[in-house]
Amino acid sequence: MIPDGSQATRTWLIRGAQPLGGPALDLLVRDGVITEAGAGLQAADARLLDASGLIALPGLVDLHTHLREPGREDAETVQTGTAAAALGGFTAVHAMANTDPVADTAGVAEQIWRLGRRAGYCDVRPVGAVTAGLGGSRLAELGAMADSAARVRVYSDDGKCVSDAVLMRRALEYVKAFDGVIAQHAQEPRLTDGAQVNEGEASGRLGLSGWPAVAEEAIIARDCLLAAHVGSALHVCHVSTAGSVEIIRWAKSKGWRVTAEVTPHHLLLTDDLVSDYDPIYKVNPPLRTAVDVSALRDGLADGTIDCVATDHAPHPLEDKETEWQVAAFGMTGLETALRVVHEAMVETGRLDWAGVADRMSVRPAAIGRLDGIGAPLHGSALAAGSPANLVLYDPAARDVVDPAQHASRSRNSPFAGMELPGRVQATFLRGVPVVLDGKLAR
């Protein structure tokens, strides 16, 4: 599609990579497809990439990315955001609808989709708003967005909760007509009026308004029941509490069509980091406790939580270098996601690399309806015949996160200064390297 590779070679021989962390193999990539996978492959016309010691994973898929364009190009653009995504190993991102103007019409959705095609670092799938202007009072034209060139399938008012139960029910029902899914930002607004941090020991000690777990859990429980009632698909954004994991586990045990995501930061960070009031740790939903982190890791490991989604939320420096209360909510995450999952899930023995591929590529691709037509574009098994969307990852690397080196236009990474394992060495989008040697290749 976009990177047609006319300037670059269309044939690559990736030598000695370990697909899903298994035995080393050679992968021959030709015209955007993995044509052969095996030992000792030869191809005279191919460019050679030595991938010994590198793990090959299918290109990662992010269900939850704020690209900020149109409207806040000072924080991020589709160009810089997708560059960040490619450097993080993503070959597809879902651009959240809370732009300015809001992506609540076919026109805006198509604009974002086209910007993605022009940038060419990864596929950009616009998420449509559920309600007009994220206003929470009437449905946006969900069908028009579905029928547009952007082929919207995921709808979300993310940043705001569709708190009106009737509206939520109608949205869930309505998108059944085109196999859509409603991705809910679960936050009961009255219980979180002015809320700043997780309600618990830290909020009481620090004198910051508490954000109770029940505000998230009550909405998730309600929405699971609504999804079951109308037989539709619910996706729960950024699950952050142990109680939410339990509710989703229960809903899944009923066979209901409920899926869920967790962010990298909720898998690694806890609310005690707020102690010096540095707004780099201010995020919605808030950082929770070690008990919640452990439950989220367990939930992701056992599949209760389907996938990792970054909730990459770039903000300019001046929106974070302030008092806690007035600072913006959000953290960048695209360029650190895989490394954080490595640290939180692989190093702790909860997931192997096949599991990481499942939670960061296969399942989010399925939830985002990315593989509706023919062969899966994303989330393949890296076998012969698969599209060559793949990432080569060095699990032995280790270094300190420095946001100044990030391609994202913003620097609000909560992992700054933290030592994390791993390094994304290369990312291929439909057979074309967009990242090589850890740097943008184009």
Binding site: E201, S203, G204, L206, G207, T322, W324, Q325, V326
Partner: protein, 314 residues
């Protein structure tokens, strides 16, 4: 001695006792014909007040002036954002002016921590949002020690809106450090959810606590709490948690009644209680100046002045 005073938890027992003892010495100055000491001559203390609080600002101003410091009052009404200049830019301005200490009152919890990361001088928290007000706790402890002769083992009951009270937070931390036993009394809606992790006891029954209290400290009830359904009516609050004359009669003979001010007479405290001999409310104000003198003296005492620092930097 510590460099900043932002939380009462910053103070070790030795630090806290040293501040109280120093305040005791400095209180003598107030009785002299010339109430001024040359100690902080040439030093600059900035009062950076983002909230109106005449009593606290005047108290800090008097304290700094009695120590011969140059005082700059920087009053910024409303939030820094509303004013158009960020807290960081204000901090850099103060830094450029060579402030040796910045006394900050701010509506946002934690603002003094942010400030401390942007200036080299000492930061003194004069009340931040619903977080802390450590010099208030110090002057309260000073008042208790003066009236009752000790702090160790003293039974202190703090009554009211603990959830939103910076005075309660600082008092619980400091009094625990100094060996007093604190009990918080409030309707459950006005206690933090995790108050069980604080170094104090909790009760919902004021009448049950008063007979065992050496000190009862009444907190101000903000009018806006009523709109958020923390309690049904002001009258009901006053009946259940207000200190009137008949409740005061439940206190042991020597017990004192404190209030950080400003008071809502007739709400959390009845006029005859506020004006009774048990009340230390006026003393608290006077003691505030001595405590703030001690804090500025000890924080700045060993440090070189802004001008000297600038010279050294050249």
């Amino acid at each position: 001695m510590i460099r900043h005073l932002i939380s009462a938890a910053d103070l070790s027992r030795d630090d806290a006792v040293r501040i109280l003892d120093t305040a005791e010495e400095l209180a003598q100055v107030a009785d002299r014909p010339i109430r001024k000491l040359p100690t902080l001559r040439g030093r600059t203390v900035v009062n950076l007040f983002y909230e109106d609080s005449t009593r606290t600002r005047i108290s800090f101003e008097a304290a700094a002036k009695r120590l011969s410091a140059d005082v700059i009052n920087f009053s910024a009404k409303g939030s820094s954002v509303a004013k158009g200049e960020s807290l960081k830019d204000t901090a850099l301005t103060l830094e450029a002016m060579g402030a040796d200490a910045v006394v900050i009152r701010h509506g946002a919890s934690g603002a003094p921590y942010r400030l401390a990361s942007w200036v080299r001088g000492s930061v003194v928290n004069a009340g931040d949002g619903t977080h802390e007000h450590p010099t208030q706790a110090l002057l309260d402890a000073f008042t208790m020690r003066r009236r009752l002769g000790r702090l160790e083992g003293l039974r202190v009951t703090i009554v009211g809106d603990v959830l939103h009270s910076r005075v309660a937070r600082s008092n619980v931390l400091l009094l625990d450090t100094l060996g007093a036993e604190v009990t918080l009394v409030a309707p459950p809606t006005l206690l933090p959810l995790a108050v069980g992790s604080w170094p104090c006891e909790v009760s919902y029954d004021l009448d049950g606590e008063l007979p065992k209290s050496d000190v009862v400290m009444m907190l101000r009830v903000q009018a806006e709490r009523m709109n958020a359904a923390y309690f049904p009516t002001v009258r009901e609050y006053s009946r259940r948690y207000g200190l009137d004359a008949s409740r005061m009669a439940l206190l042991p003979d020597q017990a004192i009644v404190m209030h950080p001010g400003p008071m809502n007479r007739g709400v959390e405290i009845a006029a005859e209680v506020a004006d009774s001999v048990r009340s230390t409310i006026v003393e608290q104000v006077a003691n505030g100046v001595s405590i703030r003198m001690a804090v500025l003296y000890l924080l700045l005492g060993g440090a070189e002045s802004g001008t000297e620092r600038a010279e050294a930097a050249r």
